[in-house]
Amino acid sequence: MQPTTLNQTRLLDLQAGERGLVISLGSGKQLISRLTALGFTPGGELVVNQNYAHGPLIVTVRGGRVAIGRGEAAAILVERRDE
């Protein structure tokens, strides 16, 4: 899915320290179900803890730290939040 407004972006494009609000989770029932159980739901707030150019991201969502692959992070759409 492509971002539609300026403030919307893929989770993958958030830098370490940036905050965002989940807008949508991409596709795949199984994946959505796993993401949801780990705290990703539309409206949920998250902070990116680590996002280097390679390898999975570390994201804190609903108080839990979650590692998420770059492919999966590219499918999650978020609204960038200012501090």
Binding site: T36, A37, T41, G44, P56, G63, R65, A67, I68, E72
Partner: protein
């Protein structure tokens, strides 16, 4: 294992005491300290097996508290109960069909918001729930303040603060269980509701299924599961509902395909209210211990350095402690027992002596000498897991494992294969899908273990002199290259499209619990002894019989006959029947190939044998023999655990056939190249 304690369980006792014992199910997400609590409550009075027809571990234990007997079943750790995985299905079916008297839901005080998600599902099932608010110490360490009384009032369920690692809160937990059983606590649970915009849909579905939901499913629960798109419930209801009612449900579901998220969001709204009431968050900007440690441990460069250091330490320990212990066991225990047996059997027929001393004691010796290394590996694995480091190792290795269609989680078990393939195969269960587990199990035997590296180290100098180190290094790289290649090919063919998404919890670091680790080591070792041990013993006797019969000498034995029969195949790789026999014998234990060659060439296992061989065979044959040795069929112990862990003879035979085909093909290729190159 001997359970002399009067509280020990056995299936027979369970049935007999069904009337008197109270059944408690322990539910919780992974990393909530659920296993620690289970071990604390049951100690050694527990039985570890598998859930019927599944390769998911089932742990059951018993205990007596205040004269009342309890049977405790540890449900698999799951993040939700959506029936997406075997674990989730097992957990929810157990609660629905076995109807435990009480479900203890273990939640993590340091990560309440996430860990209450499973509770949001549990409260909708027809079983009384007591909440064990565990890891209060970790919450304090991360500067999170949780108020149990407020949470209890907001939830309408008993909430008991605990620190299972320090055995704090057990008495209070049981008091709450007993009050709940007696219906004395007088609380009414507040249930989560679907997000507001979907309440009408839920009402429509609820009305349509009313009166048709089979026992033991609660109607509201079944209706919610339909909206969630749960396959199991959807299929059942489609079969049970009259066509007209199903059509109504179907229309509603089609019109609201996003209902799953509405249900999940409803649960998080419920959780949000609870957390706002009961948790005081740390000040913004305050960095917890976990965040600080992860800046190093999960760093793309320093993380690899730390991982390499830890793994180096593991192998250092294995050789410093494991190898001498192995040696000691071999001489002091196996050697002595063999000595006594030899003395006792002095007047017995020769074949009885051979059977007992070479066949049986040979097998027992292998099993026993495996143990020190296994115990060390299980302990280290358990420690890394319990501290929370395992997820970090998986994290930093993920980008490399990606190439083979695997997750970082499979890295550590595979790496342990350098020590011994057995713990590598047994460790494959950490992978989170069946496909990933199988791929890990199939790749593990391609990692050269110490025994195979020993054969390499013994023969390479004789054949290649000064170049031995380079040849050995090259051969190890070759077998790792083969491993990567097989991984890449398999993940794109046999397991095509089965790579599950990489989403993994990074648990908070915490002080390890020695009791948990100790019990894990005990259970794993026991399971190895019980299952693999007996298989190894049988293999050992069979190999002994093949090598001893019919005449008693190896040269004219059936094993030698087998070697001669296979010689035409061996010749592709420049191997005569004697080298072929050595390979066949290595199936029993990898280092056996040297011992067998020792017997065949009539010299002891010293440098003399190596130079004798170098004198007889060309370097090309030597190179091919070493190549095949590194890649050949895994040893009997590994095959036994492959069978145990894959739960299928089909995959076990596949693994054997795969390694056989690869070793022959690569061996023949290396031989042809070596001959062509003038070796």
């Amino acid at each position: 294992m001997s359970c002399h304690s009067d509280t020990a369980t056995s299936p027979a006792l369970d049935v007999e005491n069904a009337q008197r014992t109270t059944l408690i199910a322990l539910a919780g997400q992974p990393n909530m300290g659920k296993s620690t609590l289970f071990n604390l409550l049951t100690g050694l009075n527990q039985h570890v097996g598998n859930w019927a027809g599944k390769t998911v571990e089932r742990r059951e234990g018993s205990l007596t508290h205040d004269g009342q007997r309890f049977t405790l079943v540890d449900l698999p750790g799951t993040y939700s109960l959506t029936a997406n995985s075997a674990e989730e299905r097992i957990a929810r079916d157990f609660i629905l069909h076995e109807q435990p008297d009480v479900v203890i839901a273990v939640v993590n005080a340091a990560n309440l918001e996430r860990s209450l998600y499973l509770l949001a599902e549990l409260v909708s099932l027809p079983a009384p729930v007591v909440v064990a608010l565990n890891m209060m110490d970790v919450a304090r360490q991360e500067n999170i303040l949780v108020e149990p009384e407020v949470l209890e009032a907001a939830l309408g369920l008993p909430v008991i603060p605990m620190t299972a690692t320090r055995a704090e809160g057990v008495r209070e937990l049981f008091a709450a269980v007993q009050e709940t059983l007696a219906g004395r606590r007088g609380l009414v649970a507040r249930l989560p509701e679907i997000r507001e915009d979907h309440r009408e849909s839920l009402r429509v579905v609820l009305e349509a299924v009313q009166g048709y939901v089979p026992a033991p499913y609660p109607t509201a629960w079944a209706a919610t599961k339909l909206l969630e798109g749960d396959e199991e419930i959807t299929q059942q209801m489609r079969a049970l509902l009259p066509a007209e009612r199903w059509e109504r449900v179907h229309q509603e579901l089609m019109a609201h395909e996003d209902a799953f998220l509405a249900v999940a969001t409803g649960r998080y709204e419920w959780i949000g209210r609870l957390v706002r009431a009961a948790v005081v968050r740390p000040r913004v900007g305050q960095i917890g211990l976990t965040e600080r440690l992860d800046r190093w441990a999960a760093h793309p460069f320093w993380g690899l350095v730390i991982l390499a250091a830890i793994l180096g330490g593991v192998f250092w320990m294995t050789f410093q402690i494991g190898a001498p212990l192995q040696e000691w066991l071999d001489t002091q225990i196996i050697g002595r027992v063999s000595g006594w047996l030899a003395a006792a059997l002095v007047s017995a027929p020769l074949w009885v002596q051979g059977l007992v001393l070479d066949g049986v004691m040979g097998g027992v010796g292998t099993v026993v000498t495996f143990l020190p290394i296994l115990v060390i590996f299980f302990a280290v694995l358990g420690l890394l897991e319990d501290v929370g480091y395992m997820a970090r190792a998986a994290y930093v290795m993920d980008r490399f494992m990606h190439l083979m269609g695997m997750h970082g989680k499979s890295f550590l078990p595979l790496f342990l294969g350098f020590g011994c393939n057995v713990p590598a195969v047994m460790g494959a269960r950490v992978a989170d899908s069946r496909a990933a587990q199988l791929l890990t199990i199939l790749l593990a035997p391609l990692v050269p273990c110490t025994a195979r590296l020993g054969v390499l180290a013994f023969l390479a100098p004789a054949f290649f002199g000064a170049a031995a180190a380079w040849v050995s290094w090259g051969l190890v790289m070759l077998s790792l290259g083969v491993l990567v290649l097989v991984g890449v090919v398999m993940s794109r063919t046999v397991f095509r499209g089965q790579r599950s998404a990489f989403v993994m919890e990074m648990p908070l670091y915490h002080i390890p619990n020695l009791r948990t680790i100790g019990l894990l080591v005990w259970q794993r070792s026991l399971s190895f002894l019980e299952k693999a041990g007996t298989t190894i013993l049988v293999f050992s006797v069979v190999v002994w019989a093949l090598a001893a019969l019919p005449g008693g000498d190896l040269e004219n034995s059936w094993l030698a006959g087998l070697g001669r029969w296979f010689e035409p195949v061996g010749l592709w790789m420049g191997l005569d029947w004697r080298l072929t026999v050595a390979l066949l014998a290595s199936f029993f234990a990898k280092e056996n190939s040297i011992a067998t060659l020792g017997v065949l060439f009539g010299s002891a296992e010293d440098a003399g044998l190596a130079s004798t061989l170098a004198g007889i065979y060309s370097p090309a044959s030597g190179l091919a023999f070493l190549t095949v040795s590194l890649l050949f069929i895994p040893c009997a112990a590994t095959v036994a655990v492959i069978r145990q862990e894959s739960g299928s003879w089909h995959w076990t035979l596949f693994s054997v056939a795969l390694t056989l085909a690869i070793s022959l093909a690569v061996g023949a290729g290396v031989y042809a190249l070596a001959v062509w190159g003038g070796l």
